[in-house]
Symmetry: C2
């Protein structure tokens, strides 16, 4: 009886982490509503992947909200700044990367909160991860806790006490390999997901950006085959 | 020397409160960048007013970011729900109004934060007011404080300590009459601002919605003339 399930909103980027997060939300018995924020990212293939993942997981609904964060400038993911290639893990974790999008998770969680309040959903799911990408400040637990607190003060439902908002981050302490293992156990089809920051015009992943390398190494460590093709095979 | 001034981002709706807030930011010596969020509001005249106000105040820049909050549903300001008319002040303050937009100020402040981080601005200005419109949970000081805390945990600039974000709410404890008096002293041209929730097709204010009544009463109490026309003259 799907109408007896508790509704939840899951942010869905089209990437591996958010697909796994949505699958975990489903496995926990939520009625999952996917929300994809089209923020003007250069890798438009993510949006197609988000739609395919939402369909494959049979989500209760899926919305794509467009917002032109690129107009604000400031990130290699939305502006014309070169995406780094062939970096070692030490280089990746050295500082906050140029692919950082200013206030991205704050903006995304705010929109998920708006959608959740309209749907009467107290539960938000986001696939942030503090292990592989520790450079992003808005992927840490203390940020999530601060946002949860803000959400409960910001909303009619929170203030009136009809909903107690909670932000679920099931991946936050997992390695990429653990994420992939868990998603595979839940039946996530990673062939549908898109990870690369610099795909070619046909959408084929470069194999050299940080995201491709972390993805590929995650599959290797998990002892699983990465089902997507790469222009240049990443090094494990 | 405007290039020696500290940059700030001021949310500008086209309404009376945000115009006054931007004028206050200017009077405090900031280089003010206006940010207007076009969230699919039904009263599109606000957006034209925001542009006119930004020009009249000679802001350093003015951006309009479009985001379709209406697609999320849930408010009389974006959806097809009747806007209440002819309510007394007691009725207005009775509960959170149907004109409440879910998580609106959280979404707007998130976008202002993104813009601020790109500009290297630590200071955000928002014209929230806890007196006249106490029904909106995201117009209260405790929400603002929670958001400030989130902002400093969410951002590269906040975490690296290059910017300490602060959300300024110069109107929060002022009555509408005090806001109008202060803005008038700073030279704000309130003829450029738009307040009505239900204007006619020519943009003329109805005079009967909560917003029109609070505006008109504010001018009356301040002993000033409201320079805009109304379809039905509000009662003082």
């Amino acid at each position: 009886m799907s109408n007896e399930k508790k509704p939840a909103v899951a942010l869905l980027s089209g990437g591996l982490d958010s697909a796994t997060t949505a699958a975990i939300a489903l496995s926990e018995g939520y009625q999952v509503h996917g929300l994809t924020i089209d923020y003007g990212q250069r890798h438009r293939f993510e949006l197609q992947s988000a739609k395919r993942v939402a369909e494959a997981l049979s989500l209760a609904s899926h919305r794509v909200l467009r917002i032109d964060l690129a107009a604000l400038g400031g990130s290699a993911l939305t502006a014309d700044i070169d995406v780094p290639q062939d970096r070692t893990e030490a280089e990746m974790s050295d500082s906050i990367p140029v692919t950082y999008v200013p206030a991205r998770n704050t903006v995304m969680l705010s929109l998920a909160l708006a959608q959740a309040e309209v749907l009467g959903a107290a539960d938000l799911f986001i696939g942030v991860n503090a292990v592989d990408y520790s450079g992003y400040p808005d992927c840490r637990g203390e940020f999530i806790t601060a946002f949860e607190n803000t959400a409960n003060l910001a909303t009619k439902a929170g203030v009136e006490g009809t909903l107690k908002f909670r932000v679920h981050t099931p991946l936050i302490d997992l390695t990429k390999a653990q994420i992939i293992s868990q998603g595979t156990a839940l039946g996530v089809d990673y062939a549908l997901t898109h990870t690369c920051y610099s795909p070619n015009s046909a959408g084929v992943s470069c194999g050299r950006c940080d995201a491709c390398q972390l993805r590929y190494q995650g599959f290797q460590t998990a002892g699983l085959i990465d089902p997507i093709a790469y222009q240049t095979q990443p090094t494990a």
